[in-house]
C-alpha cells in the first residue's frame, strides 16, 4: 500500500513516538502533514503566531514529559518561529520543529518563500536538516527525536519540502523504526563518586541547587532519597522546580531569591545539579570562593564552567544520584536549615509583610499571595514578565512538578512565553487549575492566543499584573538615567479584560484589594479562558530590577 509523505510524518509521530498533541500554524507547503494529523488522529493545536507554536511545544516537553513537536510553514512561518526555537535552545529543552520549505524543483527560480532556512536556524539548534527523499522520512524523524533528547536536550529542525510530502511511496519502502527514542544515560567514574560523597558527608553547612537537568532527568525518587539521606537544604530552579514539592521540609523556596543569595555566601559545600552557573547566578560570582563545589551535569563542558568544581560528576542527574546514594552517610542538617531560614527571614521581612498587608494601589506581592490563598498548591503557576516573574517565582508555591515556572527568567529572557506555556500546561493537565501571572507588557506579545484557547477549550486563568509599563526596564531607567528621562517604557491603563471578553472569554477588572478573591473565584468558576486585569502599584519594583540594572552598568 502506498503512503503519502505527509501522512508518513504523522504515522511516525503517532506510532513510533506516541505523539498525540502537536502545536501548529497552517500553510500551503505543509498541507500534506496537516492532513496526516487527521488521518492518524493527532490533535493539532493551531495557534495565531508561529512563535507560540514553538514555545508551546517547548512547554509540552516540560509539562507532558514528552518531546514537544511543532509544525510551521516555510518563510514567515519559519522566521516567526525562530524566537521560540532560540528560547528552547537557551533553555536546553527538547523540541522537534517540523517546517515547510519551497519546492526543491523550484530552487533558485524565485519560488514563493524560497530562502535558506537551514543556515539561519543552525546556530540555535542541536541539529538541522532537510529531508530529500520521501522514503527516508522515518529515518530523518528518528534522528531528529534522538538529537533533541540525547545528552543536553535542545531543539532540532527538520525541513520537509512539498516534493517529498506530496508524493506517495510503498509503505514497505519506508519502514518505521522499531525502537522509539529513549534516553541513554552516562555514568560517572567511581573515583569521582567517592570524592563527591566525601565532600557531601563532611559538609557542615551544605546546599543543593538543582536546575532544569533535575526536571528533565525525572529524578524525583532518587532526589527524595538523596535529601532524606543527606538532610541537605535544597532549592530547585528553572524546569527542575517541583521535582520535589515546594513544601518539602528541606526546600528553601520560602526564603526566596534574596534569602538564597544571603545563604549561599555562608555555605561550605554546594551541590549544583543540572544547573548552569549563568548570569542568574552572576556567572558563578554568587558562589563564595571558600565553598567546595560538587557539580553534576550531563554535559562535561559545564563541570568547571564559571567555577572550578572540587568534584565533577558527568551524567544525567537521576543516574548520578542513584550511583551516589550508596556512598552517602545519613546526616542531619536541621540546625543549619533553621539558622538559614531565620536569617533569611530578616532579609525578606518587607516581602513577607507585603503578602499580609492590603494595599492601595495593590502591591504585586499581595496579589500573588491572594491568588495562592484561593488556588492553593495543587495547581500550575506560570509567570511571565520582568518584575512580575520575580514576584511570582518567589511567592507562589506548588506541590506539582514544574508547578511554578518563570518562563521569562531563562537565558533568553523571553517575554511573551507565559501564554504558550500556560496553554501547554493546561492541555497536559486539564484537571488542574493553571494560573498565568502576566505582566501587562509581556501579555501583549501573544494575547491573541486567547482566540486559540477559546477555539480549543483551554481554560487558563490569566492574571495581569498591570503597572502600565515595561516595569523592569522602566525601573532600570529610573536608576540609570533618571525618572524624568524615561523612554519607551510606559504603557497605558488598557482594559485587557474587555479584549478577552470581546473574543468570548471571561473578563474581570480589579482595582482594590478586596476585589481580588471574588474576581478570581468567578474566573475559575466560569470554565472559560479568563483574564483578570489587576491594576497594581506602578512604583513597586522587585530586587531583580536592581540586580538587572547593576548587571548592565559597564563603567
Amino acid at each position: 500500500m502506498a503512503i503519502k509523505g505527509g501522512h508518513l510524518v504523522a504515522k511516525y509521530l503517532k506510532e513510533v513516538e506516541g505523539i498525540e498533541t502537536i502545536f501548529a500554524l497552517s500553510g500551503g507547503h505543509i498541507e500534506a502533514i496537516l492532513d496526516g494529523f487527521t488521518q492518524y488522529n493527532i490533535r493539532a493545536i493551531d495557534v495565531r503566531h508561529e512563535q507560540v507554536a514553538a514555545m508551546a511545544a517547548q512547554a509540552w516537553s516540560v509539562y507532558a514529559g514528552q518531546t514537544g513537536v511543532c509544525l510551521v510553514t516555510a518563510g514567515p512561518g519559519f522566521t516567526n518561529a525562530l524566537t521560540g526555537i532560540a528560547n528552547a535552545y537557551l533553555d536546553n529543552s527538547p523540541l522537534v520543529v517540523l517546517c515547510g520549505k519551497h519546492p526543491l524543483k523550484e530552487d533558485l527560480k524565485g519560488a514563493l518563500q524560497e530562502m535558506n532556512q537551514i543556515d539561519m536556524v543552525k546556530p540555535i539548534t542541536k541539529w538541522a536538516a532537510t529531508c530529500y527523499e520521501t522514503k527516508r522520512i522515518p529515518e530523518y524523524l528518528s534522528l531528529a527525536f534522538r538529537y533533541a533528547t540525547m545528552g543536553r536536550p535542545g531543539p532540532v529542525f527538520l525541513e520537509l519540502p512539498p516534493d517529498i510530502l506530496n508524493v506517495s511511496v510503498p509503505e514497505e519502502d519506508a519502514p518505521l523504526p522499531k525502537i522509539p527514542t529513549r534516553k541513554y544515560t552516562v555514568h560517572p567514574d567511581d573515583a569521582d563518586l567517592k570524592q563527591a560523597a566525601d565532600l557531601i558527608n563532611k559538609a557542615k553547612q551544605p546546599l543543593f541547587l538543582g536546575g532544569s537537568g533535575v526536571g528533565f532527568s525525572c529524578c524525583d525518587l532518587a532526589l527524595a532519597q538523596f535529601m532524606e539521606q543527606t538532610g541537605i537544604p535544597f532549592i530547585l530552579m528553572n524546569y527542575g522546580r517541583g521535582e520535589l514539592p515546594d513544601n518539602h521540609p528541606q526546600s528553601i523556596w520560602d526564603i526566596g531569591n534574596i534569602g538564597l543569595t544571603v545563604t549561599l555566601a555562608q555555605a561550605d559545600v554546594i551541590v549544583i545539579a543540572g544547573l548552569r552557573l549563568n548570569w542568574l547566578l552572576q556567572s558563578g560570582g554568587a558562589i563564595p570562593p571558600t565553598a567546595k563545589i560538587v557539580r553534576i551535569d550531563i554535559d562535561p563542558h559545564e563541570i568547571d564552567r564559571n567555577r572550578q568544581a572540587d568534584a565533577g560528576l558527568v551524567g544525567d542527574v537521576n543516574s548520578v544520584l542513584n550511583e551516589l546514594l550508596p556512598h552517602l552517610q545519613k546526616n542531619d542538617h536541621s540546625a543549619w536549615l533553621k539558622t538559614l531560614r531565620t536569617a533569611s527571614a530578616a532579609f525578606i521581612d518587607s516581602e513577607l509583610k507585603a503578602r499580609e498587608t492590603p494595599s492601595d494601589p495593590i502591591h504585586p506581592i499581595r496579589l500573588v499571595a491572594q491568588i495562592q490563598k484561593v488556588v492553593g498548591d495543587d495547581a500550575y503557576y506560570v509567570t511571565d514578565g520582568g518584575d512580575t516573574v520575580y514576584f511570582g517565582l518567589v511567592h507562589f508555591t506548588s506541590k506539582l512538578k514544574a508547578g511554578v515556572i518563570g518562563t521569562a527568567s531563562g537565558l533568553l529572557g523571553c517575554l511573551g512565553t507565559g501564554i504558550p506555556f500556560a496553554m501547554a500546561a493546561k492541555i497536559a493537565n486539564p484537571d488542574k487549575p493553571v494560573i498565568l501571572f502576566n505582566g501587562d507588557g509581556s501579555f501583549g506579545f501573544n494575547a491573541m492566543e486567547f482566540d486559540t484557547m477559546l477555539r480549543h477549550n483551554i481554560p487558563v486563568v490569566c492574571v495581569i499584573n498591570n503597572d502600565c509599563a515595561w516595569g523592569m526596564v522602566k525601573h532600570g531607567q529610573e536608576l540609570s538615567i533618571g525618572k524624568d528621562r524615561l523612554q519607551c517604557t510606559e504603557l497605558a491603563p488598557r482594559r485587557y479584560d474587555k479584549m478577552v471578553e470581546a473574543l468570548g472569554g471571561h473578563g474581570e477588572y480589579v482595582t482594590k484589594d478586596e476585589e481580588i478573591i471574588p474576581a478570581l473565584k468567578r474566573a475559575l468558576e466560569s470554565g472559560k479562558p479568563a483574564c483578570i486585569n489587576v491594576m497594581t502599584d506602578p512604583t513597586a519594583l522587585s530586587p531583580a530590577s536592581v540586580i538587572f540594572y547593576q548587571a548592565l552598568k559597564m563603567e
Binding site: L340, F347, D349, P543
Partner: protein
Amino acid sequence: MKFKLLLFILTKKLKAAAKSNPDYKKHLGLMQIKVLIRTADGKIGRLFIFDRGSFSAASSAENQADVALIWADAATAFRVMTSKNSDADTFQAAAEGKVRIEGMVPYLQWFTDGVKLAM
C-alpha cells in the same frame, strides 16, 4: 556611643569619597536612593542620601528610606559592622533576631560595595 561614632565616621568617609574618590564616584552614578541604618528603638540612626552623584546624610532615624538596616541594639551593630567577617556575622545576627532589613535588599548590597570602595 561607639555605634553613633561609627555612623559619624562613615558619613565623613563617604562624603570625602563622593568628592575625591573616582571609583566611588563611578559607583554612585545616577543612583537616587536613601539608606537608613538605625537601632530598633530609633535612638541612634543615620540616613545616607544618594542623589545623582551627590551624597549627604541626616541624623534622624525616623526618615523613610529605600532600604533600612535595623539593629536590635547599638552594641551588636557596632560589633558586626566593624567585624572583619561582617557578612558571616550579619548572617548570624540575623539568625539570632538581632538585625533585620526593611526594603530593597540589593540597595544595601550596593551601599556596602560602595563603603568598601570608600574605605
